[in-house]
């Protein structure tokens, strides 16, 4: 049977395994090839989503035009949780298999996850004021999302406080894994507690209750935020590879 192969930067063919991209060299090359695709897809989906969401989607009969905040709020909130799961997953993988690139991915995701979390809180406040009458309430959904922001900041702060990057990776990975318990709490908070926050707008397996143009705009924005998150994290991961392995000969050849 033919084994799958991967073409490396210098055109050599290598056997493709789970650990092929655990090599900083293969990873750096692959990330460089993926970034333009995710950037282009993200810009296209974002422009389409903004056009449909802001220009064509109808006004909501209950919330008026304030509901349009959903087109940035929901993608930011989803990504804040997804990025955390990806970050904890990569950190845990790096902890278990001593794959430095996995830990680099975790570090690369953290600032973007923190940004999405802040944006979810910010847009939530601007949506809460006109619909609930308050910028902020100490409600289960909002409080657990705020804790998520502190977890991201804690991950970055702990990592930055330890000089040896591999030791920092391990310490921060433990924090990320323990903090992952907060993700189901955020997700299910609207079911577990009485809360001001409305339930999910879209759930798998149920027919959507939104107008088709609203749903299309929201899903396009989600796709755009996914692509943005991937492109930015890969770009930051390449920077970290250069910062950590900058003295390696293959990198010096590639950055000339």
């Amino acid at each position: 049977m033919d084994q799958p192969y991967y073409s490396t930067a210098n055109g050599a063919r290598r056997r493709l395994t789970v650990f092929t991209f655990a090599s900083p060299r293969n990873f750096y090359h692959l990330a460089g090839r993926l970034i333009p695709w995710f950037t282009a897809l993200g810009v296209l989906a974002g422009l389409a989503g903004l056009a449909i969401g802001l220009l064509f989607a109808p006004t909501d009969f209950q919330q008026g035009d304030a509901y349009r905040i959903i087109f940035v709020h929901v993608p930011a909130a989803w990504m804040s949780m997804l990025v955390y799961m990806a970050m904890a997953g990569w950190a845990g993988f790096g902890l278990a298999y001593h794959t430095g690139v996995s830990s680099i991915m975790a570090s690369a995701l953290a600032p973007t996850g923190a940004l999405f979390t802040f944006l979810a809180l910010w847009t939530g406040a601007l949506w809460g004021k006109p619909t609930w009458g308050a910028w902020w309430v100490w409600d289960a959904r909002l409080t657990s999302e705020l804790i998520l922001l502190f977890l991201y900041l804690g991950f970055m702060g702990l990592h930055a406080s330890i000089a040896d990057p591999r030791r920092a990776d391990r310490a921060a990975a433990v924090l990320a894994l323990v903090g992952a318990v907060n993700i189901p709490i955020i997700y299910f908070s609207v079911y577990w507690w009485n809360t001001l926050h409305q339930g999910p707008s879209v759930t798998l397996g149920n027919a959507p209750t939104m107008a088709p143009a609203m749903l299309a705009a929201m899903l396009l924005m989600v796709a755009a935020f996914w692509c943005y998150g991937i492109a930015v994290a890969l770009r930051r991961a390449r920077c970290i590879v250069l910062e950590r392995h900058g003295s390696a000969a293959w990198l010096r050849r590639r950055t000339k």
Binding site: L54, L55, F56, A57, P58, T59, G64, D65, A66, R68, I69, V72, H73, A76, P111, T112, L115, F118, L119, W122, T123, L126, W127, K129, P130, Y228, V232, R235, R236, R238, C239, L242, E243, G246, S247, L251, R252, T255, K256
Partner: protein
């Protein structure tokens, strides 16, 4: 099209402050992150190539 005029669009049915306050901060901070990454990329590339020159000398 949901709007009759540009003023209508900008007013967002009276919620302009909230809607534009959300969208501007979201895309503003995203652009800021991309800009900061570009700066970090240039800095680290410069550091790597200066390291290279020291090695050659």
């Amino acid at each position: 099209m949901n709007w009759h005029s540009l003023q209508d669009f900008l007013a967002m049915g009276g919620y302009g402050l909230y809607v534009w306050g959300s969208f501007s901060v979201v895309f503003g901070l995203m652009m800021l992150e991309v800009w900061a990454l570009g700066r970090r990329e240039r800095e680290v590339r410069a550091a790597v190539s200066s390291h290279d020159n020291e090695g050659a000398a």
